[in-house]
Symmetry: C2
Subunit: 519 residues, 2 copies
């Protein structure tokens, strides 16, 4: 973090799936709520001191009233439904929430947060507040009666009531409150800070209403989007409607890494090097947006980060060796270099796992931002822009496509040998189809001989098939291969148009991808 | 160690270049003698406990009377020549030695070794004793007078006198003595153990004279010999002259790793996976000698060792990325896969460094036992054995040679960009020559058209040039390429002989390599 000038570690310490900090006042919280995987207070102090020596603040988060299953394992009486509770092993949004209507809840929080306020010297404390759908509240007659009695009209208002009570506790312990954007409510005092995760609109709205805010929407690095996308997300975008005075309420941004799909082996590759691009965004004027120069520098920074001990490159090699069950991972590396994990949280549906599942699949090795893929996209564009000669970048293009073809051949036996690679078999077949389509198209174009529409449609159908995710992985070069295929069939049109127009036409036909072939 | 069933850690704690263990009785030893790089007694206890939990004994070595410069930095009065002494920064054999004629020396050792005897619970203590050439003794009149007075006829006898004195100290502290083979002397008591490092002959001699012994000759893993060589070294070789009774004196063997040319980044690749082959040797019957099966299993063990956290593969990638200054290290990896560091201690002369020099060169990345090289050697043999058809393994052979050619082309610009790779330029040129010779020879052979002797001699001259080490690295495929070249020119002889005879003839002509072309 210090190497890229990030200066606040927001440490999300409690979740449905684990209570990760030692409490001396309520030791059952971490002993029963963590599978033994928690930070002792000594370790917390060590981390805070280590961070402080590097100019980094440590802000803890205790996520309430939702996301609190692990608290309720040992203190079910704090919940809004009767227990018993178990540590959650799935990922998603769950019902358990603290009961905001009982004084006991606030007594407990006063004591616990007081202990944490003494442990964490930072001025701020993050209390979460996100994704509480209030289902337990809806079903609890006592809570419903409380709301009626107090004139609290809905769950959002009930959470606002909860926040006001908790804010007073924090003030007593001399801490300022931060919460996820759901805490925004007319009754929320102005000294709370809004942490926006769903989009910049809520951040702008908060700023207009006089709240300070932080942007995380756009910086969710666990979603496996490319660095370029994060790099272009600005906490105060070009089209902002904020006045300069309002804009001062935007404190900055935060890269957000969640832990469902990471292990000690993979976490570095999920955070780095992309977070360096986010750090540069947050320290740069809005008009610094040169993506290709960002990638050029990111590659250098990535190796500097490796020198500092990060394992995003080292463990990539290790994961591939384990999957390939051989030291010669070149064919697998070739495949991995043009596939990426599915974006957003689609992995949940496509490759279901629990929190106890191993994270050792090809999807865990694969990473976004492949330089090979970027180079291929750029080679195809250069090659097609050189119509009707089709000489520019042709050797690169042909070499790359031939490498894919060779890799797909070598991968067949490798998949046969490796149980862990079984799920990659469709990807290997698709790699072969992609390489063949690309090579044949290139060959048509360089020979100046048009492909038939029948050939084109066959190839496009295969590419559409290859575009579907497998093993929660997807190819990132399909659009460019599609361009080559379409261009090969569009060769005759070159006679009646300028190369630039022709190229634009091909590009338009090739992207966005045609809709899925559902009936 | 536990993973491959090694059960004694021999821990060489003192050397000319550093005194690596904390002494509470003589703290100047480690503070002035170590640059601050020493193990505290708490750390020592932690290591001993960690080892014990895994069934591993920890035997410390305090190397005396030679190899003791770092002791004399703080206690020059123990030396055989006046001080002051400085921590040694070079590698090799140095003159400083403890003075065996002064009672103060034994008083000091009694106190220090007593402290260490309490720290290390193992029954044995290793006192070194190696490589003391006695030059300080020769020049010290007081020592010469002492020898004359006591009737000690030479330095070897003086060291034996020293050993007898020290052995009594160890006995007082209830330890048994081990020393390097130089301690062997008629006056040496029989309960000392002989540690053989120069060859199995001294071990056998010791056993015949009734001493227990350990073999390290043959297992010097810092010399960068291939695993196959270590695997075939047996503590009790097939041609042993020992009787079964005498053979019982051979306690086993020890893989010996010295620290001059390793850093935390490289040490794992110098120890592993080769030491697994040595461990198997030491636990196996003498007739288990199948090299190719050993390599097959070593590759599996290597990945298992990586799973346990060793960095011999991970850091290889990192070192290559650092040298290449890019993530795409394939061409450099191709070169590195067929070169090895020079053997023995030739690196000292070829690429002089001090103990303070960085260990980040190509020679530090390169490793022995390349699978690529073994495969190439085997492909060439199969291809030539298939005379006059020359079809067997030909695709493999041609693909490998073409890869070398491609790599040599890609490496030119890479070397231009990387200051750290400048020294590798001759290797890149030689890689190109090797690939060209191999490809042309293969082409002659498959076409059945004989190469001229002029072509052969030109190629052999280039291969002889390529066989010379550069940057302390040498190619390990030259002999096989030489075979191809000679075979291409020997094609006409195939008509007048059987393929097997022809193949033998080619092999004989190609190896051993012709002498260097000195006038």
């Amino acid at each position: 973090m210090a190497a890229v000038k990030l200066n606040v570690l927001h440490w999300h310490l409690t979740e449905d799936q684990g209570f990760r900090v030692e409490s001396k006042k309520f030791p059952k919280l971490h002993t029963l709520g963590s599978d033994g995987l928690f930070y002792t207070q000594d370790e917390v102090r060590e981390i805070i001191a280590y961070a402080r020596d590097r100019g980094i603040r440590v802000m803890p988060e205790f996520d309430i009233p939702g996301h609190s299953t692990s608290w309720l394992v040992s203190y079910p009486e704090l919940g809004s439904a009767p227990g018993p509770y178990k540590i959650e092993r799935g990922a998603g949004i769950f019902e358990p929430a603290l009961d905001p209507t009982r004084e006991q809840t606030y007594k407990f929080l006063d004591s616990f947060l007081g202990e944490m306020a003494a442990l964490f010297p930072d001025a701020y404390m993050h209390l979460g507040g996100d994704e509480n759908e209030g289902k337990q509240w809806d079903r609890n007659p006592q809570i419903q009666a409380f709301m009626k009695e107090k004139g609290i009209k809905d769950n959002h208002a009930l959470q606002a009531y909860f926040n006001q009570r908790v804010l007073k506790i924090l003030q007593k312990h001399h801490k300022k409150m931060i919460g996820w954007e759901e805490i925004l409510h007319p009754d929320l005092p102005k000294d709370a800070v809004i942490h926006s995760w769903r989009g910049p609109a809520s951040l702008a709205e908060a700023a207009k209403r006089g709240y300070n805010g932080i942007l995380s929407a756009g910086y969710y690095i666990d979603l496996i989007f490319p660095a370029s996308q994060h790099y272009l997300a600005d906490p105060i975008p070009r089209d902002t409607t904020l006045t300069p005075e309002e804009a001062k309420h935007i404190l900055g941004g935060e890269a957000t890494m969640w832990g469902e799909w990471v292990s000690p082996e993979t976490i570095d590759s999920r955070i780095w090097p992309r977070t360096a691009a986010i750090a540069e965004r947050l320290w740069s004027p809005r008009n610094v947006t040169d993506i290709s120069d960002m990638y050029r520098r990111l590659s250098v920074i990535s190796r500097q980060l490796e020198e500092l001990g990060l394992t995003h490159e080292k463990n990539y090699g290790m994961l591939l060796r384990r999957l390939a069950a051989t030291e010669n991972t070149i064919p697998l590396r070739t495949l991995a270099s043009i596939i990426e994990p599915v974006k957003e949280y689609h992995r949940y549906q496509m490759r279901p796992q629990t929190m106890l599942s191993p994270l050792t699949g090809l999807v865990d090795a694969a990473r976004p931002d492949s330089e090979t893929a970027r180079q291929f996209v750029s080679d195809v564009d250069a090659f097609l822009s050189d119509a009707p000669r089709f000489a520019l970048n042709r050797p690169n293009l042909e070499r790359t496509l031939a490498e894919w073809q060779n890799a797909s051949r070598a991968l067949g036996p490798m998949v046969d040998r490796s149980p862990a690679l079984q799920e990659a078999r469709p990807l290997v077949n698709n790699l072969s189809a992609i390489a063949e389509a690309g090579l044949e198209a290139t060959s048509y174009l360089t020979a100046g001989s048009a492909a038939t529409t029948q050939w084109r449609d066959t190839q496009l159908a295969r590419l559409n098939e290859a575009a579907k995710p497998n093993a929660a992985l997807e190819f990132v070069v399909i659009t460019s291969v599609r361009k080559l295929v379409i261009a090969a069939a569009e060769l005759p049109q070159l006679r009646s148009t300028t190369p630039v127009e022709w190229n634009n036409r091909v590009t338009t036909m090739a992207s966005p991808p045609p809709p899925a072939t559902k009936p």
